[in-house]
Assembly symmetry: C2
Homo-oligomer: 516 residues x 2
């Protein structure tokens, strides 16, 4: 019987979701997994074509040969972002075939997948587990999905597959290029997406793997970001994605003076506290503010003659410029955000592709996230205990995924540059609506009216003294915002749980409830 349990963060969470047991959050590093990784079947080459040619005539044929049937779990990656043309077609075929109760397990869904609401309505899809950006998030928030959504970080998704928590029956891997054997990459072809790392676990652990491409190349497709040795069927389609919606032509730094100020303060904080030093490493997200931080980092590094050992991507033209200028030895890229990123990854062996396995999987013998000196992230809310929220807005609607955000919290210093308020709603609150990241891992909040340092980071508090930067307590920042905007109303929820939020170790850190 499912019951609600108060987890180590004080949040009431169910121990059963969609009929399966899930462990409540126990604290950072406290849950010790037992047991063994998911063991895929042993295959034999004798059951695959001698000449390696796994091409079938259509996506439908591949799905039928893969044994698509009621109740299966179908996975996909989101490297095609809002330009994906494959997954809507997959569920169109499922509908045609009369298949019901599928679980869709994407690494994320986008507005282009609004098409699938009809299949959530008619029972073709039972529920979605994965980040839901836009319409599907709204649909879920409205309590309309039959099952409960489960949101995981990029690393958490790898962990869930690796640990056998989510067993994938059929993985669909859309790829910029592929050969008939199933080797695939995102670095070339009209639907180039740079990387395909979000599909790595799917390829390794799914029962059946289908690669779909609109750019079939002669064997070998190099680099093989996805190894054909894991692939059952390869499908050539006319058009797999809409290029302009997969990759930005160019990424632009914010032009907002407020955001530029936040970025500049963040960079100055890193300069004065000694974080920017020879051989250091950093990660900035793809948001406008984060991009601007990279730019300011570059200015400081040039001025002081400092070189970084590596930057973690999402890559974009600003990081690529720094790499080519010699300010950074390596870009360790997790996803590519613009055409310059794709070009650089293709041309430059120091622009290295990584995966959620190398970078983020917490059930591992370590990962790259902990080796990064400083990471700059966003949030929809933080609270006075430095807890962070990235999935719900202050109005309580589930509109964002977790991405790599939770995983990056293991960086040596985590900085969140945030406006003090958005649309006159303060960003610093007493308690986050949804707990996504524990405050003990979040070190610094940079706002336009001051910088709050987590009291746990006495070293940073000391280092920031005499910096001339406006260091304040988080309570002071919260009070300032409330003086201007007033104390916001909290969203009112029903008891109905519409989504569970996983921590990096697979435990349930919080839930999202349906709004009243």
């Amino acid at each position: 019987m499912s019951k609600l349990i108060k987890n180590a963060a004080g949040r009431m969470v169910p121990n059963e979701i969609n009929g399966e047991y899930h462990t409540p959050y126990m604290g950072v590093g406290k849950y010790k997994p037992s047991g063994l990784k998911h063991a895929p079947k042993i295959y034999s080459n004798s059951d695959f074509p001698n000449d390696g040619n796994k091409l079938v005539n259509s996506l439908k044929e591949a799905l039928v040969k893969s044994g698509l049937k009621d109740g299966m779990t179908i996975s996909s990656h989101h490297h095609f972002r809002n330009g994906d043309l494959v997954m809507n077609r997959v569920f169109d075929i499922a509908k045609e075939l009369g298949v019901k109760n599928l679980r869709w397990f994407p690494s994320a869904s986008f507005p282009c997948h609004e098409h699938l609401i009809q299949y959530l309505e008619d029972g073709t899809i039972h529920h979605i587990e994965g980040s839901m950006n836009g319409p599907l998030g709204k649909y879920t928030s409205d309590g309309k999905m039959k099952g409960t959504a489960i949101l995981r970080s990029h690393g958490g998704r790898y962990q869930a597959i690796q640990d056998g928590e989510v067993k994938i029956d059929i993985a669909i891997i859309a790829a910029g290029s592929a050969d008939y054997f199933g080797n695939a990459n995102g670095v070339s072809g009209p639907s180039a997406s740079g990387l395909l790392g979000f599909a790595l676990a799917d390829s390794q652990y799914a029962d059946k793997v289908i690669v779909v491409t609109d750019n079939l190349v002669p064997f070998p497709c190099v680099p093989w970001q996805i190894q054909g040795n894991y692939v059952d069927y390869t499908v050539k389609v006319e058009k797999a994605g809409e290029p302009e919606k997969i990759i930005s032509g160019t990424t632009e730094i914010t032009k907002s003076p407020d955001r530029l100020l936040l970025a500049e303060m963040t960079a100055k904080f890193c300069e004065h506290t000694g974080i920017i030093k020879d051989g250091f490493s950093f990660q900035t997200g793809a948001g406008g503010t984060s991009l601007a931080v990279s730019k300011y980092f570059g200015d400081i590094m040039r001025e002081k003659g400092i070189k970084a050992r590596f930057a973690r991507g999402g890559s974009n033209k600003y990081l690529v410029e720094m790499l080519e200028e010699g300010l950074i030895d390596y870009i360790l890229d997790g996803q590519t955000f613009d055409l310059e990123g794709v070009r650089s990854m293709k041309e430059n062996s120091n622009h290295v592709w990584t995966s959620p396995f190398t970078s983020y999987n917490y059930h591992n013998k370590g990962n790259f996230a902990g080796l990064v000196d400083v990471v700059i992230l966003g949030a929809t809310e933080v609270d006075v205990n430095f807890n962070g929220n990235v999935v719900t807005h202050s109005d309580g609607l589930l509109l964002h995924g977790i991405g790599g955000w939770q995983n990056c919290l293991f960086s040596k210093t985590v900085i969140l540059p945030l406006p003090l308020f958005r649309n006159r709603i303060p960003v610093i609150v007493d308690e986050v609506t949804t707990l996504v990241g524990p405050g003990e891992l979040i070190d610094v909040i940079v706002t336009e009216r001051g910088i709050a340092i987590n009291p746990l980071r006495k070293d940073l508090i000391d280092a920031a003294k005499n910096s001339g930067l406006p260091i304040k307590t988080i309570h002071e920042l919260k009070d300032e915002a409330e003086k201007i905007c007033g104390k916001p109303e909290k969203p009112q929820f029903t008891e109905e749980i519409i989504a569970a939020i996983k921590w990096v170790d697979g435990t349930v850190i919080d839930v999202v409830r349906k709004l009243k």
Copy 2:
């Protein structure tokens, strides 16, 4: 109870070796594996250093921390070839610690490991499973090893680890370069070996993984041929290998007129039968004759304006020249044989590193071996049914490993250029001393006095007509040799089995017995 069973090749093999059950050979593609791949434990980052620094002070400390104890299986790769300085030290430490009955599971051992005979004598090592080149092969052949040796191909070794047939307790991975996190490669450092692919399965499936290097580089060590996420401990030593014994300074084509003739005939055969055509692919080994075949292939391709899509390595300067000249689009490299190979792999993104997983593992959804148009291999003996032997000499001594030889037999055409006799011992015999490769997979025997085509390959027999090449039956070739040398004495064996030979699917295709 162990008993002898006649396998599908008519060889009497035991169903129990070293106390474990092994399936007798059932024919090519006949054995269908069931069950699941070996499932490693689920680890947690919380049990590893936050900052990713896994360095320990010494190899001894790493072994002690890995829990080295009696009866364990210790694995290693052979990329350091006869220049390995690590594995002797590992067993010196085991001896110091009083540990007994270890199973050493190298991908191959070399004359430099003669040092370990003392530990086979005193019980530190119980037995060796892996190719044994030189003194350890002789020791085994003499029936002196306590356990029975098991020889596997490169792909068979991956398969055995993946399928859980061999559970590795501690994997030792010597590496040209590594970072403290455990990322490692063979492309740089004084002990550069090019690739580290033979250690891939070990890293993925062993319980504990130790990386040993004499060239510690700041994170990230790029490329990470071995991913640090699999590694428990990293050890920096003064000297891991003897460079000049790891990699040849330069590989030289044979100067023997006999061998050059074999190579030329082989190339002509491929030319006349249409195997050398635009977009074709080939693999030649590292022996002098094979190298010469590459050279003659190059001459034909240049003359006819033909380009190959890819060549599978062992890479060497001749292949590198062809790549750089544009005669080959890609080298898919499995091990690097000379400094030019290492340089090219480091510099040229079309010189791609592969692994026994991508290329050779038979318990897979296909591998690269079947996609190669023609492979040129050696053999110690072939018989009138085209069966091949590569592990024992005609005198019955076990002196060679299998390497990738069995795996390559799945290529579309397999050609063995062989002298008709060696030291006045005919190479074509009535029945091979040890069966390593089934005749149905071996297509052509090229000798200086004629070329025999397997009757199964009617297409090749037709294609070779009117070629002017001396096509003969294999019986004719055998008779010619025996007319010159006489019929050789067969080696006389006792009943005692000293080694088992695995087929690519893990079944036992033959055994080697102790000589009388």
